[in-house]
């Protein structure tokens, strides 16, 4: 874990206060900076400013790197995605000031240690299937280039690894499928969302897959391809 530097806001790890401050969300900004742990708008803004150059309204890639380092999380960590979801960030690699403020108020964090304390909570969000679905859907818009309708396959593969890598047994097969079928240069939102549904409802042996179902053609083709692959490897082994 990278070392923590720079200033810490007062009352970094005040456990009991946490609950209290959550309840007092709305009033906290008015109360101004409190010594212990209450959320402070100004502190929060200045924390944001640490990662931006002066006139920038946006926290950019460089700032992001530093931010990750500060809170001790690798940029590739899925927690960052949960955080971005919390902040409702529009673009990967960027946080705008509004996003920052809104999300941090929501989390009641105005300094690094507070946020570090929240990391576990953010991680836990990923275990809730409804929230995960919403994060998954968010990830598409988050990861795609602005003004683009679809996600290019490379990014999509990386995002899928991040999100489903641990939990979907067919994930690596699917990546392989995308590698081999180069005509799929992009994934649209429908395909993206369907992958999650597919990973959740279809058994790894594909036994409950219905080819007349509503799966996008990409997934139909994936199943066809996978069956062929499995058939081949089966033949080889036997």
């Amino acid at each position: 874990m990278p070392g923590r530097r720079r200033r810490r806001s007062p009352g970094e790890t005040d456990w009991p206060e946490r609950e209290k401050s959550k309840k007092a969300k709305t009033s906290s900004s008015k109360r101004g900076m409190s010594i212990n742990s209450a959320f402070n708008n100004k502190v929060c803004t200045s924390w944001f400013r640490e990662y931006t150059t002066k006139d920038e309204k946006c926290l950019g890639p460089e700032g992001m790197e530093k931010f990750c380092e500060d809170i001790g999380v690798e940029p590739e960590n899925v927690v960052m995605l949960a955080l971005a979801w919390k902040l409702q960030a529009q673009n990967m690699g960027f946080f705008t000031h509004e996003e920052w403020m809104k999300g941090m108020i929501d989390l009641q964090c105005d300094c690094i240690p507070k946020l570090q304390n929240k990391l576990e909570y953010l991680k836990s969000l990923l275990n809730d299937s409804v929230t995960f679905k919403s994060i998954f859907r968010f990830a598409f818009d988050f990861a795609k280039e602005e003004n683009q309708r679809s996600l290019d396959t490379e990014t999509a593969k990386a995002m899928l690894t991040l999100l489903l890598g641990g939990q979907w047994p067919l994930h690596s097969s699917f990546s392989q499928f995308l590698d081999q079928h180069t005509r799929y240069k992009v994934m649209n939102k429908d395909q993206w969302c369907s992958v999650l549904e597919f990973s959740r409802s279809i058994l790894p042996d594909l036994s409950n897959y219905d080819e007349d179902g509503a799966w996008p053609v990409m997934l139909d083709e994936f199943v066809e391809w996978l069956k062929e692959e499995q058939g081949q490897s089966h033949n080889k082994t036997s």
């Binding site: 309708r149 649209n188 395909q191 007349d212 179902g213």
Partner: protein, 801 residues
Amino acid sequence: MPLSSANKRALSEENKGEPALTSKRSRTESKNRELDEPESCATMTEPQKKANFSALSGNGISRHASPLANAKPGAAKKLVIKNFKEKPQIPENFEEQTWLKLAEAVGAIQRSCAIRYSLEELYQAVENMCSYKMAAGLYQQLQSACMKHVRANLQQFLGDTYDHEQFLKMMSNCWQAHCRQMIMIRSIFLFLDRTYVLQTSSILSIWDMGLDLFRTHIISHRTVEARTVDGLLNLIERERAGETVNRQLLKNLLRMLTDLQIYQEAFEKKFLEATERLYSAEGQRLMQERDVPEYLAHVDKRLNEENERLLHYLDSSTKKPLISCVEKQLLEQHLAQILQKGLTQLLDENRIADLTLMNQLFSRVKDGLKELCTAFSSYIKNTGRLIVVNPSNDAEKDKDMVQNLLDFKDKLDNIIEVCFAQNPKFVNAMKEAFENFINQRQNKPAELIAKYVDSKLRAGNKEATEEELEKLLDKIMVLFRFIHGKDVFEAFYKKDLAKRLLVGKSASVDAEKSMLSKLKQECGGGFTSKLEGMFKDMELSKDIVLAFKQHQQYLDASQAIDLTVNILTMGYWPTYPPCEVLLPSEMVYLQEVFKKFYLGKHSGRKLQWQPTLGHCVLKAEFNSFGVRKELQVSLFQTLCLLLFNENNEYTYQEIKTATGIEDSELRRTLQSLACGKARVLHKTPKGKDVEDGDKFQFNDEFKHKLYRIKINQIQMKETQEENTSTTERVFHDRQYQVDAAIVRIMKMRKTLTHNLLISELYNQLKFPVKPADLKKRIESLIDREYMERDKDNPNTYHYVA
């Protein structure tokens, strides 16, 4: 028996003489009494009359006659006349005497000799005996006399030396004699039959007694019955085997069995069993030996024979079981085999008579027509598939496909009409089968039908008169109706129609219009609107050109060139790839003049010239002979030829630069001018193909017997290419149709599951589509945000307004 009362009875009857008559007449009397006198005259002949009557054994009369015993003495009051007459006595041994007399007569009848007494006397005797209450005894005595005689007859049938026929003859004779005798006896004993017997329910009438005696004593004897039935069956079997037998004998004996009421149990059952055995074996054997038409003819023959048999000697009650037995054994058992073995052959060879027979026979048995119909349908499917499917895409075979289909359809229509009596089941089966097989191969049949129509509508097709053409078009429409992908037809039809219209090659405007109206009727106005637009364009162009020729600038510019323009509305016509060529300046000028003229009338439009579709007539002078000719050529050919006004020789490259015609097009054009039938150019070196370095010279010595010569373009190899592009365009259009259908459905339903949407789509779309293609369109619409997938249920779509 108390005599006194018998006496009284006899007296009163003697007095009246004709009591039977009186009672019988009582009804008429009441109606009109004046007839009284002549009626009493009739009395005299009455007994005779009565005897005659009874011989005919009219039973109804005896009913009326019976009440005579207790006739009311109402009338007698008036006629109290003959008093004081002595009571007549009957002789002491009256009963024995009379019976002896009667017994002798019966014996004589049974021996077939003359009877000593007159019949009237005998009848009277019977009547008297009955009157004196001796009826019961008389009946018994008569019965035993008959029984004795019948028993005596039995012996002759028990000997074992006879063959069947002889035996049957004997039986028949015996029976007939018996009947004759019994009739005679009954006539004599009629009075007994009508009074005593009728009033006593426990005994049989004399005739029935005779039958009963014959039945119990002769026929029911086991040997006799067996011999008789065997004999009969044997005789019938011989007849079935083709021998001529004594049908009269059969008829008599079977009638006998019916009369004796043992026809059913003694004969019919065995007969049906024998029939079943015979025909079951015959069916098995002949199915193996004979081919189907022969077999069917045989079955028909058998059925006729059996019907005849029924007519001639079998009892009519046997008809149903017998015929159904024959049908079952000869047909029903073999339906599948007959169809499998013979139907294809019969249909292939168009054997109308045999098929008619088959239909007739099959309609007799249960499920017969259904089976026939199914087999018929699968025959059509198989044969049709052979015509349609062409895995190697052999052009030769495809060329004849439509004609073959039309012939095939004609043949089947005829068969259905003549052989299957226009049975709607068969008509439907045929339609279904056609639809099935014709769509086994996608797109190609539609394309070929379109091309076939083109070949018929094109000028120079002089093989048919207007009516024949009209009829042919109707037939084609029938085929067209079966096609699923009608848009493919439209695309190809449109392309060909464009060619016909632009080159002016259409055989007849009427035929074109009629075809168009047929299509409109079949597929609706939407289908034909573009085709109609093409016709409209042609007409408008004519007017415009006419107006243009009055136009001042044209008059100035047109010293040498006569210009006709067809203005094609984009979208109505097939799309032609734009192409640029270098036109001679006169032409360019004229084009400009026209353009100005046209845009002056219709501002805001855009004119694009299509050099590929142009054609020209050139006046040419071949100097060495001083011959003038007119050459009918395409615009490209024109451009090449016009060059030779300047110079006598050009290289390929020079021509290419001068005309700007695209390479492969130019090669074909030059080929047509220098290597075709009418060679107006020379090529060096000689050869079929045009190479880069080739040189072309004007052929000064060109000769041709005609004045106006049409130089055909070398037919483009690109038909294949053109073909593919047409097909592709069709598929492209289909995508829009699918999209439109999806949006239409979703707009109406707002939310729909995948499967419902797909099935709705299949209902709406008139061409074949794969589910995967539909899915792609759905995804594309989701992507374009016309609809969205439900967040929680990926199988459900929502319409996005």
